[in-house]
């Protein structure tokens, strides 16, 4: 039994085939499917189309596009070494010196990602808060009003307060990222608890659960799909505020770099920083979705889309 995985018969293969679907084989089949199916290639095609359109628009000198750079030039800047690093052939050197060969690019990434990670960790406190709010009506009533009062305040409006409260360079930025993300996580978690069909609470009571067991076995797993939605939104919002925070208070980081590039009129650097943010965000999103697929196996397996 241990070498054969449950649900294996649902996978392709004739029913009488002698193939044993081990975990490893299933993983391989799934990976192969992920990279050979239409969805993947359509995605790739979409990205390529975007860059081609951008390039064409730039070359034809469309209004507002002519002041930008060609994506090919940005790619060149990203991948070529800076002046004096390897050779003296100016055709093989980047002009602005910000890309995969320079330390600054990695430092910016590291600093920003570390800020996001910290902020994100703080914002996860919204999960227990949201669960408690959904569990006990009194907690919800107590917390919800002040919560709704603070929630509409955009992250940017928190900037002065953050700087007054946290006199270091780092903390205000983390605070800004965390606060925006926290609201998204908490409210989605609360929504998740509220979305649980009341029949599950009744069933759990019938089967002799204590209040705590209802929390543990009904509220937590039942709210999980929405928790993940909240976390995904929260992650996006955290990046959003990160750039805002770094523009104002930073000396390093991808957000700071976009602003700095704008000040120095170095459009390729601006693009590199922007797309780096996009790319890291994408990777984090993918990682979270993978985790989600694992935790919410009960939902993915039954064909529900996430």
């Amino acid at each position: 039994m241990s070498s054969i995985v449950r649900g294996a018969t649902a996978l392709p293969g004739r029913p009488d085939s002698p193939v044993v679907y081990t975990r490893r084989r299933i993983l391989w089949l799934k990976t192969r499917k992920a990279f050979t199916g239409w969805p993947f290639w359509l995605g790739v095609l979409g990205v390529v189309a975007f860059f081609v359109l951008w390039d064409v628009a730039y070359r034809l000198g469309f209004p507002r596009m002519e002041k930008l750079e060609s994506p090919l030039y940005v790619f060149r800047e990203l991948t070529l070494p800076p002046r004096g690093a390897t050779s003296y052939n100016p055709a093989l050197e980047s002009k602005w010196g910000y890309g995969i060969w320079t330390k600054a690019w990695y430092t910016d990434m590291g600093v920003s990602v570390w800020r996001i990670v910290q902020a994100f960790a703080w914002s996860l406190l919204g999960i227990p808060l949201g669960l408690l709010m959904g569990w006990k009506r009194s907690i919800r009533d107590f917390v919800f009003a002040p919560f709704e009062l603070l929630r509409p305040i955009p992250p940017i409006a928190w900037v002065p307060l953050a700087i007054i409260m946290f006199p270091t360079a780092e903390a205000p930025i983390i605070f800004l990222c965390a606060i925006a993300s926290f609201f998204a996580v908490t409210l989605n978690t609360l929504l998740g608890v509220e979305s649980i069909d009341p029949v599950y609470f009744r069933a759990a009571r019938c089967l002799g659960s204590s209040e705590w067991q209802i929390f543990r076995h009904v509220i937590v797993p039942g709210a999980m799909p929405f928790v993940f939605t909240g976390v995904l939104i929260g992650l996006g919002v955290a990046w959003f505020s990160l750039v805002g925070g770094e523009i104002i208070a930073g000396t390093w980081g991808l957000g700071y770099r976009t602003m700095d590039a704008y000040m120095n009129v170095s459009t390729p650097v601006l693009f590199i920083a922007m797309f780096t943010i996009g790319f890291i965000g994408l990777l984090m999103g993918v990682a979270l979705r993978m985790l989600q697929r694992r935790v919410l196996a009960w939902k993915t397996k039954t064909g529900d889309t996430l």
Binding site: A203, R205, C206, L207, G208, S210, H217, W298, D304
Partner: protein, 413 residues
């Protein structure tokens, strides 16, 4: 006290000294009407002898079947668990149906006194054990008796009076299947919710094995002695089938997870549900989900199983299979079943008693005793007696259906 005890049949051969000792430790107690003498699950301490009044305990030594199943003869014994050493918990809940006077004898001390008198003392102890064994046999068959008396429920949202159920009285015999039929909105589900402990009654009371489980102002306390199988199913979608089935015993700490799993697997094997235990409810068919849910209820050994139109969403073919399946499970366990439906044929096919209810306010319109033999199979559907019963029921229901229709109700019986 001694004179009274002398008159009690079981003590009549005891020596004078012994009886005096017993009388010395016995206490005279009075309980007002409605007071609880002891509850299910209490540790047994006293043996009781009824002196006056009546209590909600099946008679053991007095007149056997007064028809009501309650003790009302002086000299009637109850609370035998106190004198049988293997019993750690009370099985019954005993309440006073009238102002009652009882003689309470501490069980452990009574046994000590009886042991001092070798001949007759031991005879009395043996008689206790005999009575207990006899009672247990009858209690096992008697467990799960539901009695609904004058139940009423008025919903009063924002001052609009809606009488959902009114003056509803009927009994479900222990181990019987009672099917409540009626058009939607007749208060079937209200009644079931009251039994399950999800909702209050506004008048009347419901008793399960003598203990009040629903009455106005009583705490809502759903529990594993009466488990509901819900209309649209309530298997936890985030737990595997096996975790669902073992949920009850594990959260109640009645079994370790390992034992519960072994038990669940045996039970599921017995009813043809092997091989799906590691799957999630979303991965199996709706008919199977319903069966798993019934098993999830039965593993808790409830006194009564409450089924709220459980087969409503199933197609006709699956439904007929599910009926036979349910009856098969019933024949195995003989649990009392309280079944709600709007399908007459289903009601008569499954039930011992069919309760036809009226449209709002929900009242009992007709009680039909189904005398079809068990085990029943689908052949019975075309038998003469079945058709007669159906005709009888239809007459009751049709009138209600018309009323419901006129009242703008969407669904008919």
């Amino acid at each position: 006290m001694k004179n009274f005890l002398r008159g009690v049949a079981i003590f009549k051969d005891l020596g004078d000294d012994t009886l005096a000792r017993v009388a010395a430790i016995a206490e005279d107690r009075r309980f007002p009407r409605g007071a609880t003498v002891y509850r299910t699950g209490d540790p047994p301490d006293f043996l009781y002898v009824l002196r006056e009044g009546a209590v909600s305990h099946p008679p053991l030594v007095g007149a056997r079947d007064a028809g009501e199943g309650v003790a009302r003869h002086p000299g009637e014994l109850f609370g035998l668990a106190a004198v049988v050493e293997t019993m750690k918990r009370r099985v019954f809940t005993v309440e006073c149906l009238e102002d009652s006077r009882v003689c309470a004898i501490p069980g452990a001390r009574l046994l000590e006194i009886l042991k001092l008198e070798p001949g007759t003392g031991y005879a009395v102890m043996q008689r206790f054990a005999g009575l207990m064994a006899e009672a247990e046999g009858r209690v096992a068959a008697r467990s799960g008796g539901l009695s609904i008396r004058d139940a009423g429920k008025i919903y009063d949202p924002e001052g609009i009076h809606v009488v959902a159920v009114e003056n509803c009285s009927f009994d479900v015999p222990p181990g019987g299947i009672c099917v409540v039929v009626g058009p939607s909105g007749c208060g079937k589900t209200t009644l079931l919710n009251a039994v399950a402990g999800f909702d209050h009654l506004t008048s009347g009371e419901i008793r399960l094995d003598g203990g009040v489980i629903a009455a106005p102002g009583k705490d809502l306390r759903p529990g594993p002695d009466r488990i509901v199988v819900f209309q649209h199913g309530a298997l936890f979608p985030w737990k595997t089938v096996l975790d669902n089935v073992t949920y009850g015993p594990v959260v109640q700490r009645k079994m370790s997870r390992r034992d519960a799993e072994a038990h669940a697997l045996t039970l599921m094997g017995k009813v043809g549900l092997s091989g799906i235990e590691r799957q999630y409810p979303g991965e199996i068919s709706s008919g199977m989900r319903r069966r798993v849910e019934i098993v999830r209820a039965l593993i808790n050994d409830p006194k009564i199983l409450l089924l709220d139109e459980p087969f409503r969403a199933l197609d006709a073919l699956t439904k007929s299979v599910m009926h036979e399946y349910l009856l098969e499970l019933y024949d195995l366990s003989h649990k009392t079943i309280f079944f709600i439906t709007h399908d007459l044929e289903e009601a008569i096919f499954l039930g011992d008693v069919v309760v036809v209810m009226t449209t709002r306010p929900g009242r009992v319109k007709k009680l039909i005793t189904v005398d079809l033999p068990r085990p029943r199979s689908y052949r019975i559907l075309s038998s003469k007696r079945f058709l007669e019963l159906k005709q009888e029921a239809i007459e009751g229901v049709h009138e209600e259906a018309l009323k419901a229709f006129e009242a703008g109700e969407r669904e008919l019986a």
